[in-house]
Symmetry: C2
């Protein structure tokens, strides 16, 4: 089993961390100057590793092994959330670089653009998988600045280049490593997670309409309080979802707004953002049916409620043979200290898995922290994760 170069791996991760460094983390949003610099930096490293580097028309960075034969594709993303951690995404990309160097051939490396969604939803991996239309590109814009994706691509120098799409004949599969972004591995004293599936999610914006009124002069019996209607619906979710949910189902009311939101005014409007996630579509369907029941109950009362926005992603199953390869490698290097587990967060692998056999490996997140500059993983776990992934890649690149 070829051994990775732990010092070279860490040196590259540390070097990438300097581009857009923020406290102990990184601020490198998609198509910021720091993000564009990091893409060029990565392309240079891929070339030094003997791969043919290219940055395509959507901003994906790819390193192609020039040798003949089928390849295994390894990757993740290198842009970050705002003022976020140094490993989220970068870890999986630099693992790919290090494994391509270690194995010498049979490995392609990818950094998918904008996994963090500054401009859209998985636009890099969806472009590669043939799911991103030119029309959608026309409509994407930075969620904070409003800069259009077209303009950002122009400024980055990527506009007009072809977008590279997956050639299924070239690849035997896709592997992605990532920090766990939760505290489960750490709490169980484990060092490797082997992802069984990436959860599907359904996200809803629900708007409530009542009647705005004076909070002193409007009697309770005649009120149409949109805020109370919202609270009763959320309380209904909390009361009914546990009986329908799986052990690992999660649901979250992330935001609530009352309109006008003044102390002495009965709210005439209200809005919430709600989502739930599970790896089982039948569970997602059952939860959505219950949500619709609760909305119907609201509409039988003094206020009305409507789903003003809905977006979904389906659960993505990881390939069984790839999971087995990861488990064999993990057991060899850290016997008994690994587990199979779903991913509660979304990853590019959920897109790739529709086109290629795919799998994911998790390393522990210290205190479970992610999307924050304090995010970290011990050097020992970083090195172990890369070696386990290298072993699995070595086993998988030669069809058994």
């Amino acid at each position: 089993m070829p051994a990775i170069d732990a010092n070279r791996l860490l040196r590259d991760l540390y070097a990438l961390r300097e581009i857009g460094k923020y406290k102990t983390g990184v601020h490198r949003p998609t198509f910021s100057p720091q993000d564009i610099e990091s893409r060029q930096w990565l392309a240079t490293r891929l070339g030094e590793a003997g791969l043919d580097p290219v940055i395509d028309g959507i901003g994906n960075v790819l390193g192609h092994d020039p040798a003949p034969g089928r390849k295994l594709l390894l990757g993740s993303h290198i842009e970050t959330q705002n003022h976020a951690g140094w490993l989220d995404g970068a870890l999986g990309v630099i693992y790919g670089l290090e494994i391509a160097r270690t194995l010498g051939h049979g490995i392609d490396v990818a950094a998918w653009v904008d996994e963090e969604g500054h401009f859209g939803s998985f636009i890099g991996s969806r472009s590669f998988c043939g799911q991103l239309t030119e029309d959608e590109i026309d409509q994407c814009a930075n969620r904070e600045t409003g800069t259009s994706l077209r303009e950002a691509l122009q400024q980055a120098g990527y506009a007009g280049r072809p977008r590279i799409e997956v050639d299924p004949a070239r690849y035997s599969g896709y592997l992605e490593a990532h920090i766990e972004q939760g505290a489960e591995l750490e709490q169980l004293g484990l060092r490797i997670g082997i992802v069984t599936a990436i959860v599907g999610s359904r996200r809803f914006r629900i708007s409530f309409t009542g009647q705005q009124n004076h909070a002193g002069t409007t009697r309770m019996a005649v009120r149409k309080d949109a805020g109370v209607a919202l609270v009763k619906l959320v309380a209904g979710i909390e009361a009914r979802f546990p009986a329908i949910a799986n052990k690992r189902t999660v649901w979250t009311t992330g935001d609530i707004r009352l309109d006008p939101g003044a102390p002495s005014i009965v709210p005439g409007g209200a809005e919430l953002i709600f989502q739930f996630r599970d790896t089982d579509s039948t569970v997602l369907d059952a939860l959505e049916a219950t949500l619709n029941d609760l909305i119907a109950e609201t509409n039988a009362g003094p206020c009305s409620a409507v789903i003003a926005g809905r977006s979904t992603s389906e659960p993505a199953m990881m390939d069984a043979r790839f999971q087995d390869a990861l488990q064999t490698a993990a057991e060899a290097h850290t016997p008994g200290r690994h587990q199979r587990m779903p991913s509660g967060a979304g990853h590019d692998a959920q897109i790739l898995s529709r086109r290629l056999p795919s799998a994911m490996l998790f390393v522990p997140s210290i205190d479970g922290i992610s999307h924050h500059y304090a995010e970290n993983t011990s050097d020992e776990d970083i090195v172990l994760g890369c070696q386990v992934l290298a072993d699995a890649a070595d086993a998988l690149r030669t069809p058994s």
Copy 2:
């Protein structure tokens, strides 16, 4: 019974409406140029009516009857909420002016500054009643612009003037007319409301603390969701308050905020603004005890809750003899089409009633609208209300 001059009354109300006119309403916040102009306009009108006009060191406009003998004080306020109605406050002040002119003597007129709370809480009537310290004036500032009250008084030209305080030997009592700000009179087909009491209110800012986390990777069992804790408390209020409340008790959650308020983040913090109002202090005490029970129940769970802010006003009872005088006058002019009722909104009369026998008269609000430029009352009801108040004032100014 002396008859008021309906045309003169309406002409003055229309003239005042022109100062800061906004659509069909008025934008005349405290110490805006329009508000200062309207104070000078009123002082001039009071002088023309034979009263000695003065604008004092807090901005109150007073018209003193120069004749000897005890006086009845009539008033309300002339500044408005932002982009609000033309009658809220102005009605009661111009009634005072018209009744002083009609009765010829025995009437003082007041326009209390900032009843609407742009700078503080009832600073005009509280100054007059000896409840506003120089220290509090130092601390007041415009809630929108941050301009200090001292600076605003300086710019208006009122700084350095004495503040006039009530002389209980001068006054036999206080009368205030106001629009109802609700739809009850209209719905019952009534034309006059005689206020029995002004509700007391208790207002709370409640902060919830949990733990911010990733909404995909954090299992339900380990979450400390501050938003869920907030929703359960509000649902608890809605479940338990009806059994404790009086028929006219009102309670309102006016605002809710989740922190950080993002779709995929378990809220680590949350805050709400809650208030309740009743004319009975024992009911207010019982409601507050239940609120404290609910907060204690929250603190027994995964999140903590604290009352981060609390402000209160006590219920104010209106004088029985003054109510009788208003009822006799109402019955004479609109037999059977009047009722006694509490005021769910706050008014300067709740401050004055601690120092002088006080009472209030309501006229109907069309569709119950107030604090909006569409606020209105029919001319017939405006004229009727002034005549009823004039009769009551005539009866009350001569001790029986």
